[in-house]
């Protein structure tokens, strides 16, 4: 079971970022809560320390959502084409069944009228058979080969989507690099501060220091003298 991510900080940061940078670019079929969740996850993972990093995390969430969207478009394109092809195939199979069946019925009842009850019964049976054929052909599980065919047909459009995905990925890598720069700058700054503290506070004491007496002062006889009271 995964632990719930504390979203209070992420929510506060997101509200501030939306106020300053505007709302994230979401389409009508995209939910703001999903974006919020992505932002919260990234926020928890990267742990931004200042506004600059928070803005970078915001952009990172936007690019991540964009990649999700484009990948979804790719899947929808392939599924849609495969679905269309399957429908066309099932329709063809149905018409073939109907055609051959009608031919047989015509041979069976060469002089029967269309209102003949036997003829009508056979026609109804044939239509049921054709519908069953259509359903069987339409409901078969798609194989990789079907998707390869769909991929070939939609290659040009998919290439355009791929280009956009690559661009978004590059921008994502840029943002992560920027966060690393921020971290590096911050660590250098912190190191400077800590060095100054260490150098300022730590100093070696001489053996003849008057501030700290290593040996308690004694009388001329060599007896140690302790002030009591």
């Amino acid at each position: 079971m995964t632990e719930a991510i504390p979203t209070y900080d992420a929510d506060t940061a997101l509200t501030k970022l939306i106020k300053l940078l505007g709302p994230p670019p979401l389409l009508r079929n995209e939910n703001f809560d999903d974006f919020k969740e992505v932002f919260a996850e990234l926020f928890a993972a990267l742990g931004p320390e200042d506004f600059l990093m928070e803005a970078d995390v915001f952009y990172l969430a936007i690019e991540t959502r964009r990649i999700f969207r484009l990948t979804r478009y790719e899947a929808v394109t392939l599924n849609k084409l495969e679905n269309d092809q399957r429908h066309a195939w099932a329709e063809k199979s149905r018409s073939t069944t109907l055609e051959s069946g009608m031919k047989q019925i015509r041979e069976k009842y060469p002089h029967a009228a269309k209102t003949d009850p036997h003829y009508q019964k056979d026609i109804a049976k044939l239509q049921e058979l054709a519908a069953a054929d259509y359903e069987t052909d339409f409901n078969y599980a798609a194989t990789d080969l079907d998707y390869v065919q769909a991929f070939e047909e939609r290659a040009a459009f998919l290439e355009k989507i791929e280009l956009r995905i690559n661009r978004a990925l590059k921008r994502r890598a840029d943002i992560l690099r920027q966060i690393a720069w921020c971290r590096l700058g911050l660590s250098k700054k912190l190191r400077k501060v800590s060095n100054a503290i260490i150098e300022g506070a730590g100093r070696s004491l001489g053996a003849t220091s008057v501030e700290v007496t290593l040996i308690p002062q004694g009388d001329p006889n060599g007896q140690a003298r302790y002030d009591v009271g």
Partner: protein
């Protein structure tokens, strides 16, 4: 008593005012720059923060525009064809669920989105450069 000549002063004031107006920065950008600088008063840092803020604002506007274009195309081209075909598509098309899919709109809006994308890319690069200088100064 001679009247003091204020023409020059006035024109100088006007020029300064014009310059101030010309280089005036939107309050949103100033607010962003302030947040980036985090209370630091370094003018170089502030200038870079202003550039980053400008880029942020423009990127935000461009992205909003892209969403608007997609929404426009989704409204304009819902489904082509007869009512029967439309019904058939809605029943069999897996891309259309309870939420409307914007794939068709995306396809139709591609040239417009490309133009916006190029512009966004340029602004993004400018932001990255400004950010590099900003971070170098901050160190």
């Amino acid at each position: 008593m001679a009247k003091p000549d204020t023409t020059l002063d006035n024109s100088a004031d006007k020029a300064a005012a014009w310059k101030r107006r010309k280089y005036r920065v939107a309050s949103e950008i100033e607010e962003l720059a302030g947040a980036y600088c985090d209370g630091k008063q370094d003018p170089i840092l502030y200038h870079q923060a202003i550039v980053i803020g400008q880029c942020d604002l423009m990127i935000s506007r461009l992205r909003a525009q892209a969403v608007r274009i997609l929404a426009l195309f989704a409204d304009r081209h819902p489904f082509l064809g007869s009512r029967r075909r439309k019904k058939f598509k809605q029943v069999n098309d897996i891309s259309v669920g309870p939420e409307q899919n914007d794939l068709v709109a995306f396809k139709n809006a591609l040239p417009h989105l490309d133009r916006l994308g190029r512009l966004e890319q340029r602004i993004w690069l400018r932001r990255t450069r400004a950010l590099q200088v900003f971070l170098a100064t901050k160190k």
